[in-house]
Every structure is written in structure tokens, then in C-alpha cells.
Amino acid sequence: MNVETQISRRRLFQGLGLATVAGAPVLLAACGGSDTSTSSSSDEVSDLKIVQSAQAMELAMVAGYTKVAALLDPKSAPLGQEILTQEKAHATGLATVVGDLGGKPAAPKSDAEYEQALGLAGLKNQADALKFADDLENAAIFAYVDAVARLTNGDLRGTFCSLATDEAEHGAVLIGLETGNAPAKQSPAAFVTGTKGAFTL
């Protein structure tokens, strides 16, 4: 986990070599944005706002998967934990990048706030958890795909495509848990768009 996190942070940082300024907050429907600071060019500010929002989204994903992982049966739990670890790596990597670029990373909300925003109290069993997690991944994919073309920094676009790929992998794993690994359901379409959901970057 430590190595994975370190690699992720390094790659994120390397991939973000261009952005130089801080940005203002972007409110997320479910997870909140981050703090404000000064800026220079509007393109750079726009990029940083998107990254900050993505970091806040990943914090919400972590909160969601913390609940999900606790509801999975012993056979499925290791994969749930692995996804949770990767979402933490995304959040940590993005927070590091935001900070390195002069912005202020979003702080995690309280458990109660996430529970309220994401409806976590309604999750009672594994089926609920897998459905919720799948929705969460689709919302994240939609957010990354929607945002990527608005990024002015090329390296950031590469990073966001990697993140979208990882969320799509998570989705395929979740569907696999639901279906007993049915490839046609794990890879249902040639273009993965996600579904508009709780997150806006």
C-alpha cells in the first residue's frame, strides 16, 4: 500500500508539471470543494479548480467505500479493501498535487456529513453496497470524462484518463462480484461514459 501510494503520488506529481497557481473552490453536490487562494492565468486557475474538485470527490469515494467494504462478505471483502486503498491513493495524490501547486486541498468532511450527503445509512447489505459502489464509480467516471477536455494542461489530461481508467476497472470488478465475473456485463460497451451523478468537477 505504501509503495502503491508513493508511486501514485509520484506519477500524479510528474503528470502535473505545468500547473502553477492556486484556485478558487468548486462546490460539489456531495462532497464539497476546497479553499480559495490567489491566482494568475484563468486557464491555470480553471485547471486547479478541477483538480481540487476531483480531490474532494475522491475523499467522498473513500467515505463511501469505507462503508461498502464493511458490508461485503469475506470472499468479496479483499477486493473492496483494494478498491478503498486505491481511492485513498487517488485522494492523497491529488491532495499532494493541489498543495504542491499552491492550492489548498479539501479537508475530509465528517462521517456524519458524508453519511448524509451520500445516503450511506440506507446501505444494509452486500447487494446494497455493490449497487451503491457501482453508481459511485459511474458518477466518478462521468465526472472525469466530462472534465478532461476542459483541462488546459496536457499532463493533467493524462492523469485524469488514468483515473477514469482505474474507476472503470473498479466498476468491472464490482460487476464481476455481482455477476460471478460475466465479461459481457463487465465490459458492456466500447465507450465508457459513466453516468451523471453526485459529482461535478
Binding site: L18, V21, T165, D166, E169, S187, A190
Partner: protein
């Protein structure tokens, strides 16, 4: 404030240098580097978006040939429909990219023959076919992750983001069939070995 800006610029410079290092490292498996299929991407004289999409078409066409051949040879046994499904989806990627390429004034590269794809004729078993497919998927991913950094057209950028998700789904299925970790890294770049 000036000092802070200088620090940021230095961070940018270091980041750019590091990014360059990644670009050179984010390559396809060594066995494929000199392949004709990859050569289609590497030897393109087109530049900018056209060159990137031309390369992507070549790689997608290679993936189609690989999956179709795996299916036709029955290398995956009862899982042959998986290869057929992935061939169909790779073809959809290729078709969309060919349309985009023509719109840009480019010319699609020729489809490779199975024998043009180095190492592919040596694939004789199901596990070898799955491993080869993983390599192809990672090659596609690497091309897209690097290419999207340079693409300018917003629609092409979005299309790439949607395609890489599908390649990620393919990788999960392939890795599960190989009984390996279906999602080995948190930030896939195509550099992964399996």
C-alpha cells in the same frame, strides 16, 4: 510573493523534466517495439492530432486482429465469446477513430496481418493468448495516456477518455482469467507488466 512564484516555476520545470522521463518510459512491451503494427504509429509523418489518431487506429486495428485470431483459433475454449466481444469493441474504437482521422484529412494505416505482429504467431495456448492480450491492452493504454496530453480537439480528448475506460474493463476480465490481481495499480498508464 516573487519567491513563491520562483518556487512554483522551479516545480514546473522539475515536473516537465520528470514528465519527459515518463513519456520515454511509457512504452509498449519490448517484444513489440519494432513491430509493423507499432511502426504504424511510430513512423507516421502526420503531426498533431492527426498523427496521434493515426497511431491509435493502427493500435486498435492490431487489437482487432489479435482478438479475432484468438477467437478463430479457439485458444480460449469456452471463453471464445470474450475474444469475440473484445474484437467487436476494439473495432468500434477503430471505426470511430478512422472517421475522426478522415475528418482531419488523414489516411488510415493498413490493417496488419497476424504474422505482422511480432510474437503473436508464437502464441499457442489460452494463458499465452490472455497474456498477449494484456500486453496489447497495455500498449493501447500507454498510447492513449501519452497521446491525450498532446491532443487539442476536445471531442477527441473526450473520446480517448471513454475508450481507455473500456480498455481498463478488458484488462480486468483478462487478468481475472489469468487469476492475477484485476486492478494492480491505482493509476493505470499502460506501463504495468500484467
Amino acid at each position: 510573493m516573487i519567491e513563491q512564484e520562483a518556487t512554483r516555476r522551479e516545480a514546473v520545470r522539475r515536473g516537465l523534466l520528470a514528465g519527459g522521463a515518463i513519456a520515454s518510459a511509457a512504452v509498449v512491451p519490448a517484444a513489440f517495439r519494432s513491430s509493423r503494427a507499432f511502426g504504424q504509429a511510430d513512423t507516421s509523418t502526420a503531426s498533431g492530432d492527426t498523427g496521434i489518431i493515426e497511431g491509435a487506429v493502427g493500435i486498435e486495428q492490431t487489437a482487432v486482429v489479435v482478438y479475432r485470431t484468438i477467437a478463430a483459433r479457439g485458444l480460449l475454449g469456452p471463453a471464445t465469446p470474450v475474444a469475440e466481444l473484445f474484437a467487436k469493441q476494439e473495432q468500434e474504437h477503430a471505426d470511430a477513430l478512422i472517421a475522426a482521422l478522415k475528418g482531419l484529412g488523414g489516411t488510415p494505416p493498413a490493417k496488419p496481418l497476424p504474422t505482422d505482429i511480432p510474437g503473436f504467431t508464437e502464441v499457442q495456448s489460452g494463458p499465452e493468448a490472455l497474456a498477449f492480450a494484456v500486453s496489447i491492452e497495455n500498449q493501447e493504454l500507454a498510447h492513449y495516456i501519452e497521446g491525450v496530453k498532446k491532443l487539442e480537439d476536445p471531442n477527441l480528448i473526450k473520446a480517448v477518455a471513454q475508450i481507455v475506460g473500456n480498455e481498463g474493463q478488458h484488462l480486468v476480465v483478462l487478468r481475472q482469467a489469468l487469476s492475477t490481481d484485476p486492478m494492480p495499480v491505482s493509476l493505470p498508464t499502460g506501463e504495468e507488466k500484467t
